[in-house]
């Protein structure tokens, strides 16, 4: 068979169609592939949107809370029967009785029925007593007067009024017809209103959802972060300077580099185990303290800071160094006077990102015991405390419906902090970024 035969055997008609059809198939494959790409990016963005909306949707309502207005008669016979105005006696007086009297005065029909009185008291939070007590302790001269003040209602009433709970007992409601009647009448008279939730910002943790606040966790996070920053910034920058500017290329520096890269990828819970064994068992530092939390978080954030600082130092062009050395600067003078100031924005950006990572880190803190139920706001880095993400974890494990709302609110606060930190990092990068 010759070449001419071969050519003649192929029917010429239809080749164009076949090529065209094949081309169409290839182009269709191209379009499909591209669509997969867009779909993937879209899915990631949708996940982000669902996550944020589900949390904001559940959490925004925790920033306001319903309060009831009561007129408390500060009866000297109840608060201070001895009349000595003794601080200790004032602190332990029966303020619940005063609140009860105030509540009953609004609904006189329950005065004789013990059961109904208890039902009425179920509406108002224990925080009411604390408010009255604090008011009396701050100014004992008020005893004998009648004070009008807004006090929080219990979390269940709050949830009912926010529409998170059914009024129907058979569908998970918690209130009897009588109680619903009281709530409605208070609302109708303008005595039961929603206000900005100050408790969330001024209190530590509490078993009562309506009194639980984030201040303790925020302060705990703050102390841990200060410790982390004070340790990881100098250590990280010093390491980066040494590796970039001074270290000879040998096995020793290779080993250090491999170690840093590995530490960056070690699960954070392992740092928690290290913290538990070293800081608590060997050095006997106090359990649950932000100091130890800060030490553990230093280990977590150090690799991030070192890597970012090295990148920033590397970005400073070599002729800056050569010029400084040429004019007679020592190596150290060259670094401190010229290279470091130019690399500083990059280093600070990396530090902020490392800190942001530390803020959201939870697992190492669980290991060193920062998960206890702690009511008091810590006064120093040695006091037992929790941290913001740990508070999220603790509240998420609480069964009450109202804690779901508060957990989401805590997450919103946490994300806001992270957002501010990252925005700061972006601002630094944009403002001081230099192209050589």
């Amino acid at each position: 068979m010759t070449d001419t035969d071969l050519v003649q055997n192929i029917p010429l008609t239809g080749i164009a169609e076949k090529v065209g059809a094949r081309l169409n198939r290839r182009h269709a494959a191209e379009r499909r592939f591209r669509a997969y790409g867009i779909a993937s990016v879209g899915m990631a963005v949708v996940f982000l949107a669902v996550l944020l909306t589900s949390i904001i949707g559940k959490g925004y309502s925790a920033f306001y809370q319903h309060e009831v207005q009561i007129s408390v008669a500060l009866d000297p016979a109840v608060i201070d029967p001895d009349g000595k105005r003794d601080h200790h006696a004032l602190a332990v007086a029966d303020y619940r009785a005063l609140v009860r009297t105030a509540m009953v005065s609004m609904f006189p029909e329950v005065a004789d029925n013990r059961h109904e009185r208890r039902e009425l008291m179920d509406l108002v939070s224990e925080g009411a007593e604390e408010l009255v007590r604090d008011k009396v302790l701050a100014n004992p001269a008020l005893i004998g007067t009648t004070q009008t003040l807004w006090v929080p209602v219990t979390a269940n009433v709050d949830q009912l009024l926010k529409g998170h709970m059914s009024r129907d007992l058979s569908r998970g409601g918690q209130f009897s017809e009588r109680q619903l009647g009281w709530i409605d009448s208070l609302t109708a008279h303008g005595l039961l209103k929603s206000h900005f939730n100050t408790w969330l910002w001024t209190q530590g943790d509490s078993r009562q959802p309506e009194l639980a606040g984030l201040l303790g966790a925020i302060v705990g996070s703050f102390y841990s972060l200060v410790v982390t920053l004070l340790l990881s910034f100098p250590l990280g920058v010093a390491t980066a300077i040494y590796l970039e500017e001074f270290a000879p290329q040998n096995r020793w520096t290779d080993l250090i580099e491999v170690n840093i890269n590995n530490l960056a990828a070690v699960p954070s819970i392992v740092f928690g185990l290290l913290g538990l064994e070293m800081f608590l068992n060997v050095f006997h530092l106090p359990r649950s303290a932000p100091l130890v939390g800060g030490l553990a978080l230093t280990l977590v954030s150090l690799p991030t800071i070192i890597i970012a600082a090295r990148v920033a130092l590397k970005a400073v062009p070599p002729w800056i160094r050569e010029a400084a050395l040429g004019l007679g600067a020592s190596r150290w003078q060259m670094v401190v006077h010229h290279v470091l100031p130019l690399a500083m924005p990059g280093i600070l950006t990396g530090t902020i990102i490392g800190m942001a990572r530390a803020v959201g880190e939870t697992a190492p803190l669980l290991m060193i015991g920062m998960v206890a139920f702690i009511v008091d706001v810590p006064a120093s880095p040695l006091d037992p405390a929790t941290a913001l993400p740990v508070q999220v974890y603790l509240w998420a494990a609480s069964p009450e419906r109202a804690f779901v709302e508060r957990t989401s609110a805590a997450i919103i606060v946490l994300l806001l902090f992270l957002g501010v930190m990252n925005a700061g990092a972006i601002y630094l990068r944009k403002k001081f970024e230099r192209r050589w």
Partner: protein
């Protein structure tokens, strides 16, 4: 707190030393400042270092020995019968003594002897701190005076200060190595104690995990069961689900961003993915419990599949979402590193864009992408908060994604949160699990980093 004040005083002392040293250098040089070897500031730093360093060294040494020595002294003073207790119980007693001394509320002591010991402990602590403060401050002053005396124009102050600083830099850079050593030592030490109670083969190959049985020695089955295989399979199951979710989405978004996307689209989409990466894992955990798990359970009810509320599926999906940005950013870097000449060559031969990507760019980028995926697997295995909140505690040996499984990290947290007894296998098991976790992730990281590095060198 007291130590902080002491350090502050020392800092002020050093600043005074700096001023004095600088002034003395200028005076020594007299009318000809050019005769000084270094700039005057360096003489100031020189004196400041003499003030600060010896005192700091003393404080560090003192603090590291202080607790141990005091403890020995207090232990000697305890009643003979308490001293005769086994080491672990004695440690508990000493723990109480320390806590009492820290809180200062001695009336809460469980016995008068302990209260006495606590008071003694806190007195000794006060004495020890006072003597340390006096010694450190006098050492600071003496050092400063010595430094001042040494100053003369020929002193090579700059070189000496720079040597000290360089030593500090070197010391800082060894932190990474010490951290690794610290991790290995602390995990290994407690794990070896664990393996002396539970044979290592039982731990690695046993199929039954129920550590809570080991709480009391007189209980039936007091040895507990420490077969970790169900934990390993559970971890693996969740990680596989996570990778099945994250790999296609992460990889395809990386391809789209690197090869197709308009710069403007990239400028919007990339930060959004980074936001996904910046969200703390505890938030993902809450999201899994609150939104994803109920959604999947209801979906299962519609499809007549029984999905547990703590199913491996829900946990794995959420973990996958967390890993998407990790994979996409690593793959993005790798894809953009592939030289453009390869693409141009393929286009020149008539390939479409997707053909170029599938047949030219991807094979070239494969090592780097595999490295990135390995890092992602290591991250999935070590992830803690999502699984602690969303996965269960039941150690089931199953491959069914609709059932609840538990993981290594969940068990570490469960075993260590709450009461810890460092003489019971229950607590020590957490360290053995931690060791396994560390070794596995370390191996994955070393291989992955090696592959990625090799790949980078190829195209640099």
């Amino acid at each position: 707190m007291q130590v902080l004040v002491l350090l502050l005083v020392l800092l002020i002392l050093s600043i005074v030393g700096f001023r004095l040293g600088r002034g003395r250098a200028v005076r020594v040089a007299g009318p000809k400042p050019g005769t000084l070897h270094s700039l005057p500031d360096y003489y100031g730093y020189y004196v400041a270092l003499w003030c600060g360093l010896p005192a700091l060294a003393l404080i560090a040494l003192w603090l590291s020995l202080d607790t141990t020595l005091l403890q020995i002294l207090v232990e000697r003073a305890l009643p003979a019968q308490t001293q005769a207790l086994p080491a672990s119980q004695l440690a508990l007693v000493m723990n109480e003594v320390r806590n009492l001394a820290r809180s200062g509320i001695f009336s809460q002591a469980s016995s008068p002897a302990i209260a006495k010991a606590a008071i003694q402990f806190s007195n000794l602590q006060a004495i020890s701190f006072a003597s340390m403060a006096v010694l450190a401050l006098s050492l600071g002053v003496a050092g400063g005076l010595l430094g001042l005396r040494i100053i003369h124009p020929k002193l090579r102050a700059r070189n000496q200060v720079e040597t000290v600083v360089k030593l500090f830099l070197i010391a800082s850079s060894t932190m990474a190595i010490f951290t690794t050593i610290g991790i290995v030592l602390s995990l290994l030490f407690e794990s070896l104690r664990f393996f002396s109670m539970i044979p290592i083969t039982n731990f690695l190959f046993g199929l039954d995990w129920s550590p809570q049985m080991a709480m009391r020695a007189d209980q039936v089955g007091s040895s507990g069961a420490f077969g970790a295989v169900p934990l390993f399979t559970g971890t693996l199951l969740i990680s596989i689900i996570a990778m099945l979710v994250a790999t296609p989405i992460g990889l395809m978004s990386a391809i789209y961003m690197a090869e197709y996307a308009h710069p403007k689209f990239r400028a919007v989409a990339k930060p959004l993915l980074e936001v996904l990466a910046g969200i703390p894992t505890v938030v993902y955990g809450f999201f899994a419990v609150l939104t994803v798990a109920p959604f999947l359970r209801e979906l299962g009810a519609v499809l007549h599949i029984d999905i547990a509320s703590e199913s491996a599926l829900a946990t794995g999906v959420v973990m996958g979402i967390m890993i998407i940005p990790f994979i996409s950013s690593l793959s993005d870097d790798v894809l953009t590193a592939v030289p453009d000449s390869l693409r141009q060559g393929a286009y020149g031969l008539g390939a479409t864009r997707s053909e170029t990507i599938k047949q030219v760019v991807m094979p070239a980028a494969l090592p780097g992408i595999v490295g990135g995926l390995l890092l992602a697997v290591s991250r999935a295995i070590g992830e803690t908060m999502i699984v602690v909140m969303a996965a269960g505690l039941s150690a089931r040996l199953t491959a069914n994604p609709f059932e609840a499984v538990t993981t290594v990290t969940v068990q570490i947290v469960t075993l260590l949160v709450g009461d810890q007894e460092f003489d019971s296998p229950k607590t020590l098991a957490a360290f053995a699990l931690g060791l396994v976790l560390f070794v596995v992730t370390l191996a994955l990281n070393v291989v992955a980093l090696h592959v990625v590095r090799k790949y980078r060198e190829k195209y640099d």
